[in-house]
């Protein structure tokens, strides 16, 4: 019996990692909505990146075909996940790497901790990785007396500011330059007191601060954007060169990767390396992408480990509709176009995966009961679906999860109404003039919303006007 139970899809365990918030989305969002500086920072950042991304996507004549290819490759991957992982394992092992499997966060943290200890290290340097944030690796390492050093600039800002990441791509998106300068002055022992808040000066300060760490740390921990089953190659996409430092300089490299990151073939890289940078940072190509396959004698780490992580992914895979959330390549485009994210920021989502993808991925990884309000953290406006480079139908997933979520109806209605109306301030004004709110939904919606009404469960008529909801919630914060 026990063996059968062990082999069944399982959600991520409680009490470890960062997939569950301390409070529900509406409660957390209410606080965020009261922070005007946060909203300004977010609006500035997301507006900037949307413009950049739109411009470089416009240069690609076959963008829609690439998106379709990305989706097809990912669907195929999920359908063949076990065999592809075995193929990846064989390829990495054949190239001199060591593959470990972790059913959940607890196991993954133990595997990494043991490997660091075996290497005789009391410090590791880290490349930004969603998977290691998800499992709470830093806390586990610290508990074992090992110091984790985040080397990505934004992660460094978050770590030094004793803060939490709020965006997949730019974890410190909620901080502006003046705040970053203050954190550096306070937390970097060797920093120049005359440091200005010029971004170039702040970047230079980070460079000086981390150089010694790069040159003297024996173990690095990374994630992986892609892992090629066919060849065993792992890829990390980055900008600053901290990734290259961590992937090249240490003696031991430990990569922690969710099982869904595998892709079948080498050629598939040609699709994803076009989709990811343009959708993500809005660049034609990010400054650096590193690929390595096991151990290369005489070049880079000679001890190479890969930890393959389940931690709830098998449960996501078990849902025929929900499994498309595993297609995500973590570009964060859906965050940048989301009207709800732009107003609440990432912290309100409680999980390391914020925004629209977080609203559908976190509840599936933990089980819907543990993140019941997240499927309601959306106006179902559909912008995320349009922006997603692998065409994940996030609105469909939200509706699907709402049908499973034991969500208090009053909270659901308040959330949906607020999100919906925040999304469409002018529409709101028109509707309010016309009918005293309440009847926004229906076939009378103007373009571009009318195209969605057929397929979406538009929010029920709110029992109070948006302004009432707004003023009540604002006065509580």
């Amino acid at each position: 019996m026990r063996r059968t139970f062990l082999g069944m899809p399982a959600t991520a365990p409680r009490g470890v990692g960062h997939l569950r918030g301390d409070e529900s989305f509406p409660a957390a969002a209410r606080k965020a909505l009261g922070d005007a500086q946060l909203r300004r920072n977010l609006r500035h950042a997301t507006t900037t990146i949307r413009a950049k991304s739109g411009a470089v996507i416009g240069e690609v004549p076959d963008w829609q075909e690439l998106r379709a290819a990305g989706r097809a490759i990912k669907s195929d991957t999920m359908a063949r996940l076990p065999e592809l992982l075995e193929q990846l394992e064989a390829a990495v092992t054949g190239a001199g790497g060591t593959v470990h499997w972790a059913t959940d966060a607890v196991q993954a943290n133990r595997i990494v901790t043991d490997l660091v200890r075996a290497a005789g290290a009391d410090r590791v340097m880290k490349v930004k990785s969603m998977a290691t944030q998800e499992i709470g690796l830093n806390e586990a390492l610290e508990a074992a007396g090992i110091e984790p050093v985040e080397t990505d600039l934004a992660e460094l800002i978050v770590q030094l500011g004793r803060d939490k990441p709020s965006h997949i791509l730019v974890p410190a998106i909620h901080r502006n330059r003046a705040e970053i300068r203050e954190i550096f002055l306070r937390e970097m022992p060797d920093v120049d007191a005359a440091l200005t808040d010029e971004p170039a000066a702040l970047a230079a300060a980070a460079r000086r601060h981390l150089r010694r760490t790069f040159l003297s740390t024996k173990v690095a921990v990374s994630g992986a954007n892609f892992a090629v089953a066919e060849t065993g190659a792992l890829a990390v996409v980055e900008s600053e060169g901290n990734g290259r430092m961590c992937l090249t300089l240490p003696e031991t490299l430990i990569t922690v990767m969710g099982v869904e990151k595998v892709i079948p073939t080498w050629d598939d890289l040609g699709v994803f390396l076009q989709l990811l940078p343009r959708a993500s940072t809005g660049e034609r190509m990010n400054p650096y992408t590193s690929m390595w396959t096991g151990v290369t004698p005489g070049d880079g780490p000679q001890q190479v480990h890969l930890v393959l992580l389940d931690n709830g992914r098998s449960a996501v895979l078990a849902d025929a509709v929900g499994r498309q959330a595993l297609h995500c390549i973590r570009c964060s485009a859906c965050l940048n176009v989301c009207p709800v994210y732009e107003r609440t920021g990432g912290h309100a989502y409680g999980s390391v995966y914020p925004g629209p993808i977080g609203a559908v991925l976190s509840p599936q990884l933990t089980g819907v009961a543990d993140n019941a309000s997240l499927p309601y953290a959306s106006s179902l406006c559909g912008a995320c679906y349009d922006a997603c480079p692998v065409m994940i139908n996030i609105p469909e997933l939200l509706v699907h999860l709402r049908s499973q979520a034991p969500h208090p109806r009053s909270e659901a209605i308040a959330m949906a109404a607020a999100a919906y109306t925040m999304d469409h301030p002018r529409l709101y004004a028109v509707a309010q003039r016309a009918a005293g709110l309440g009847r926004v939904a229906g076939p009378a919606l103007p373009p571009p919303l009318n195209g969605w009404t057929a397929s979406r469960d538009l929010p029920a008529a709110p029992p109070q006007t948006f302004r009432q909801w707004w003023s009540e919630n604002r006065s509580e914060s």
């Binding site: 075909e65 059913t103 065993g232 190659a233 600053e240 940072t281 190509m285 990010n286 992408t289 098998s314």
Partner: protein, 208 residues
């Protein structure tokens, strides 16, 4: 049941009842650009894209590569540079100290002013050069620690698209795709050049 068997069993159970897999249709996306590798317009495009991301580009005749490299290093005030063992000897810059990489320790590399390498392939549309650790490019670390990277690219190495580059590269080799100097967008999403990798990237595009 060990963790490996458990994870695989869970994933297989999750897929139980799923429809049998259908092969992925090849798709309609471009596998190559309109222009063949090395076409002069592609080299122009590469120059434009590189410049757009603040790399400095030098278009020179094959015979002038050595002088161009020496000029770049002198102008940058570089006193000592590292080169990979397989760099064509005629490219080694005369006026500065040249250290041939022989498993040099990281501290030593970090103390050098620059590095000169060849490349494996370049992507015109994205302004990307790719190093594959061949003898004329060297270990990954040598193009990482010095603050100035000079990279020589021949026209026949310039392809239009990312898929063409992927197809040319050898899986299994350590690869570094470089698009402009080290940069970050982490402060208010502004691209700022110069974080941990080389802060200056010069690409020498030869005519043959």
């Amino acid at each position: 049941m060990n963790a490996r068997d458990t994870v695989l069993a869970r994933l297989r159970a999750a897929l139980a009842g799923a429809p049998p897999t259908v092969p992925v249709p090849p798709g309609e996306h471009r596998r190559q650009g309109d222009l063949p590798p090395g076409h002069p317009e592609l080299v122009d495009l590469l120059e434009h894209r590189l410049t757009d991301y603040r790399a400095e580009v030098h278009r020179v005749a094959e015979a002038a590569v050595a002088d161009t490299i020496a000029g770049i290093l002198t102008a940058a005030g570089a006193a000592a540079v590292v080169v990979p063992p397989g760099l064509p000897t005629e490219w080694r810059p005369g006026p500065v100290e040249v250290v041939v990489d022989d498993d040099l320790p990281a501290d030593r590399l970090a103390g050098l002013d620059g590095v000169v390498t060849a490349a494996a392939v370049a992507v015109a549309e994205t302004g990307t050069i790719v190093l594959d650790a061949a003898a004329d490019q060297g270990r990954r670390v040598i193009s990482l620690l010095p603050d100035l990277h000079v990279c020589v690219v021949r026209p026949d190495q310039v392809v239009a698209t990312v898929p063409e580059a992927v197809a040319r590269l050898t899986p299994g080799r350590p690869l570094t795709w470089i698009s402009g100097p080290s940069a970050t967008s982490d402060i208010e999403l502004n691209r700022v050049e110069g974080v941990h990798g080389p802060r200056r990237l010069h690409v020498v595009l030869t005519d043959g």
